[in-house]
Amino acid sequence: MIVIARLTIQELVRRRVIWVLAALTVVSVILVGLGLDRLVSLARDGGTAELEIRIGVSQVLILIAFMFSFVLAMTAAFVGAPAIGGDLESGVALAILARPLRRAEFLIGRWLGSALVVVAYTAASALLAMGAAAAVSGYAPPDPILAVAFLSAQALVLLTLTLALGSVLPSIAAGAIAVVGFGLGWLAGVLAGVATAFGVGLLGQVAEASRWIFPSDGLWRGVIFGLEPPFVVLLAAGRVPRFADANPFYAAAPPPLPFVVWSIVWIVLVLGAASWWFRRRDL
């Protein structure tokens, strides 16, 4: 398993995926820094209060994190889809799987190598972007590590689904299904909030159930909570809480512990199911 994980990282290095991700990180961090610097300068020149600037920067960071979560979803799909499917389609897997290697070891090894790269990319990009924001605006999110942890978990959910689908479906189909699933999961989360706010019980329950079936949106709430300044939470608490909760860019609390545990179990279950199917598949 470790051999396969190492091979996967080696592949991502030799195929320049890691270098491309590193370059994208540098470019995006520079753009975030320059953009925020300009915004903050304009706001200060216009006499905007420092608290308002901090609130503004925190919301821009949440918006950037939201867009970054889509970039991560695509990255996870591009890395995960061919990890198994590509090797099967090209025939590379035949020689490897003829060796004394369990198919589950191959699958988990591919997942582990891909996961390390995706998490490293997530952590580096997110922490550097938050560092750049702090340098130019003086605002630092309350819990950047928590935000990065949930962002990474969200990427791992996508990676797991894509890689699992790639072991039974063509890699292009696996990637497409996972990205569409990510979008639908986010949409279901928004619908759940809106339905709860307006008291549409059944729709809210269905949308809430979908959050548990595909936990990426629930994990997104953890990212927001890690980035949301406490004074915004305090301000929102003074309004009608159910309407505040309907906002897909606001979280008054992190995802509950059972949900976090379920997300880990979800990853294990999906990998387990994929291993089970993959073991029975004729190559």
């Binding site: 091979l7 590379v92 020689a95 003829a98 060796r99 004394p100 290697l101 369990r102 004729d282």
Partner: protein, 311 residues
Amino acid sequence: MSSPAIEFEGITKAYGRTTALDGLTLRIGRGELVGLLGPNGAGKTTAIKLILGLARPSGGSGRVLGAPLGDRAARARIGYLPELFRYQPWLHARDVLGLHAELAGVASARRTAAVDEALDWVGLTARAGDPVSGFSKGMQQRLGLGVALIGQPELILLDEPTSALDPVGRNDVRSIVRAARERGATVVLNSHMLSEVELVCDRVVILNHGRAVASGPLDEIVAVDGVRLHVSDLDEAGRSMLGAFGPLAVDGGWLTIRPLDPGRIPDVVAAIVAAGGRVHQVEPGRGSLEARFLELVAPPTQRPAGPDEPA
């Protein structure tokens, strides 16, 4: 070491509604160099995949190196060159061999030597540091052969090992295969190239429609007595009547009956004449592997017409 290298007992394999193996029974002893022959779709590659656990049988039973088919520990003692040979294009040749040495369980202290040895066997020492993406198809097949040989496996399964090689490469493969057998390995050579099999194998198994239709030492398979006759004016009923002497193959105006006791050749000629046919030529004798192969696997209607079909 007493158990056979490969043992199939009534193995069946179906992919959906397609039957790839239909009760295949075969036995390959340790140290043998066996050619697995058959037309496209005969089940040769499927048989190899079942041995390696890359596919699972639908029925029957089998063993490899004394263990169940696909056994993980047994796979450590098997080298395999797939028909579709593809190796990580972003790795160097040395890295590919190192990876397979590690996966095969070659001790880390011996790995470098094992890689060098394999590179030398397949003539890739000078290209060891080159990426596989720059290799020609023939060089990739040489690399695949090195992968199959690394760690000196007890059983070597080569699926079409010369399909991308030039005559020099094919000659090299013959030397490599013979050397592997000399050190005690069992080699199964799955090939369409009958001449290759004739040159190196001491036993052949011919598959057709998922079954073994012939199996034995090359001399025995080829050395089957029969007769080839050039005949005209013989109607369908007359031809059918000749089936009583043995399996009949029709190739234009040529009829072949094999196997056939040589003592019965005059009876065959008499029967043709009695049925109104005219006999222009009689060729008693033994066939080549190709002729024998065609007799066993191709239905008469699919055989090419003879060059001089009588009126």
